[in-house]
């Protein structure tokens, strides 16, 4: 029997399309699909954000995402999991990260999506630079894994 692929991980410089990523996690045995999309806001602490720029230590980021998906599967009973993160320039209003999870019952996928985005923001080596109309700065996630 062919192994059915259940985890989908991608770091990409292309725009993210939610429908495509949701289609990856569809499963006739799933009663629920939950998703989270992170999008670029037009303001940060009263500054006007023009765009974001993401960079990553790509092979390690893929490895860390794979590792947190292994962890999330020990916490909740899930069908398929997709974690996609865009890199490079992300204009205001566009999507930088999409997480999609299918499960038999709804609470599993809802809890898993929340845990995955929280943990991605703590552990995965991806960095965001905010470009303002008058400068730029590297961001730091509040609970990012640190020294």
């Amino acid at each position: 029997m062919a192994k059915v692929e259940k985890d989908f991980i991608k770091l990409t410089f292309d725009p993210l399309v939610l429908q495509d990523i949701v289609d990856l996690v569809k499963d006739d045995q799933a009663g629920a699909i939950s998703t989270f999309c992170g999008t670029t806001r037009n303001t940060f602490e009263d500054k006007t954000v023009v765009r974001l720029e993401y960079e990553s230590y790509i092979p390690m980021a893929e490895k860390e995402i794979s590792s947190i998906i292994t962890d999330v599967r020990t916490k909740w009973q899930l069908m398929k999991v997709a974690v996609y993160h865009r890199l490079g320039i992300v204009p205001v209003g566009e999507t930088s990260v999409i997480i999609a999870v299918s499960s038999v019952h709804r609470h599993e996928s809802l809890k898993a999506v929340e845990w995955l985005i929280d943990t991605l923001k703590e552990k995965v080596p991806i960095w965001k630079k905010e470009i303002y109309d008058d400068g730029s700065s590297w961001k730091e996630n509040t609970k990012s894994k640190c020294c």
Binding site: W127, E140, N141
Partner: protein, 89 residues
């Protein structure tokens, strides 16, 4: 066997040193470096890097390491990354 290791700089670390990676030879008498030795070596090479290092993690061969673990050694051929606080999502 090459007595060198690779070091990768990301985000604010790259901005501080103006390069994204370099290959560094071990000091002539040794073929491994503790994380404390590594920190000192990097501070000597790049005067702007000290502050960034204080807030950064190290990863060796794509694995986060505990900076305070004195048993961890950088060895020839290792890929060491400076990981400033992450901000994905």
């Amino acid at each position: 066997m090459s007595k060198e290791f690779t070091i990768l700089y990301f985000a604010s670390a790259r901005d501080a040193v103006n390069i994204s990676s370099e290959i560094i030879s071990f000091p002539s008498t040794s073929s491994s470096l503790s994380l404390q030795d590594l920190t000192n070596l990097l501070k000597n090479r790049h005067e702007n890097l000290g502050k960034v290092l204080e807030n950064s993690m190290f990863a060796i061969n794509m694995q986060y390491v505990d900076k305070d673990d004195e048993s961890i050694m950088v060895k020839p051929g290792d890929e060491v990354a400076i990981i400033p606080p992450v901000s994905g999502g």
